[in-house]
Amino acid sequence: MIEQLSVDDAAKLIKSESSIMVGGFGNIGNPKQLIDKIADGNATNLTVMANDLGTPNVGLGRWVTENKIKKAIGSYFTYNKDVARKYREGLIELFMMPQGTFAEAIRAGGVGIGGFYTRIGLGTELTEGHETKIIDGIEYVFAKALHADFAILHAKKADELGNLIYDKTARNFNPIMAMAADYCIVEVEEIVPAGSLSPEEIVTPFVFVDALVLVERSCCQHG
């Protein structure tokens, strides 16, 4: 059953040493208020799985500034020059994956697939040391599923059961991360009665969602 939490209470659930998936791509579709509240809190040594780490001191960039992150797994951290500096200084550990392999590994973790074979990245630095396999004459490289303790996500709207819909390119990693964490918290701009969303348009079925955090719509306009 879905819980409705305040931003404060939801942020407090995240403890130090947790692994946490964060939705969003280039600061679009990320749960801004949860990110900021966790930045202000005490949790540290987090393992973060996110496409990128925002921009300097914005979005997940705030977690970089506040030294919340022990290790980041994602596809492109270049947007945020603070990450490069901390990486050179050995203050943050990075695991970089091709973006599609990262997305597929999250989905795999969500749907109970242990790992999969892809041609992407074969022979490159990003798959160095990974197992390879020939399937029907084509060489593939192994990628292991990703899973996290928490997911913090953003959606446009939820119904009271927790079914979710998204807005344009703010969808990105949110639907797959919703499946791949033990506890999935979604920041939404609106909660509507069950039955208000068309059964055909629901993107994330409520069974993947554990908690909703309702935030003011005005503060969540992106772009």
């Binding site: 791509f25 579709g29 492109y76 973006q99 599609g100 344009k168 390119t169 990105n172 797959i176 772009g223």
Partner: protein, 220 residues
């Protein structure tokens, strides 16, 4: 030659490669410009790997739509028939061979079609984003790049010494001076512009390449 004009020349030539109705992903830089130089009457459909098919042109500054960006983090618009999907579907589309073409920049292209374009030496590039996925997944890979680096160093080389994005991945290489196509025998020069000679081209192109018996000299 003015750098902006060079880029436009490359983009305009790349635009000619795309069949009408094809589904294309455009990388940042010169590739993004390709959409602006399509011949009259040609329609292509743009995919953006952050989860959109049917990317429309940039909005005017006062018409920016919240939550609507391309993978280069620039505001875009919808067309009639746009659809959205999550990142796993988006890269499924890419990896599964459903895009006709990706046009992407290059730092180095080798004579065997290897591409290096994600790790800029001496710069803090942390991750390849979707570049590896696109270059391996798309049915056709067009590299659109200036012929040499800013410092004059060759980009079209016998063997890449920068970190590789994908091996034997490039199908077509378009620069301001030349169009090369890759086949099972290697690299073939198909087209050269009228403002350079074959010898001059050779001098800035360390890669080994054959010259097409049907070589086209394009007036510029």
């Amino acid at each position: 030659m003015d750098e902006e004009l060079v880029k436009i020349r490359i983009a305009r030539r790349a635009a000619q490669e795309l069949p009408n109705g094809s589904v294309v992903n455009l990388g940042v830089g010169i590739p993004t410009m390709v959409a602006d130089y399509l011949p009259d009457g040609k329609t292509i459909y743009l995919q953006s790997e952050n989860g959109m098919l049917g990317v429309g042109p940039s909005p005017t500054p006062d018409a920016v739509i919240p939550n609507l960006i391309n993978a280069g983090r620039k505001p875009v618009t919808e067309i009639a028939g746009t659809c959205y999907f999550d990142s796993a579907v988006s890269f499924g589309m890419i990896r599964g061979g459903h895009l006709d073409t990706t046009i992407i920049g290059g730092l180095q292209v080798s004579e065997t079609g290897d591409l290096a374009n994600w790790q800029v030496p001496g710069k803090d590039v942390l991750g390849a984003g979707g570049a590896m996925d696109l270059v391996v997944g798309a049915k056709q890979v067009i590299v659109a790049t200036q012929h040499t680096a800013k410092d004059g160093a060759p980009k079209i080389v016998r063997k890449c010494d920068m970190p590789i994005t994908a091996y034997q991945a490039v199908d077509v290489l378009i620069t301001e001076y030349a169009v090369f196509r890759f086949d099972s025998e290697g690299m073939l020069l198909e087209e050269i512009t009228s403002d350079i000679t074959l010898d001059e081209l050779k001098a800035i192109t360390p890669a080994t390449y054959r010259i097409s018996p049907k070589l086209v000299v394009r007036e510029v």
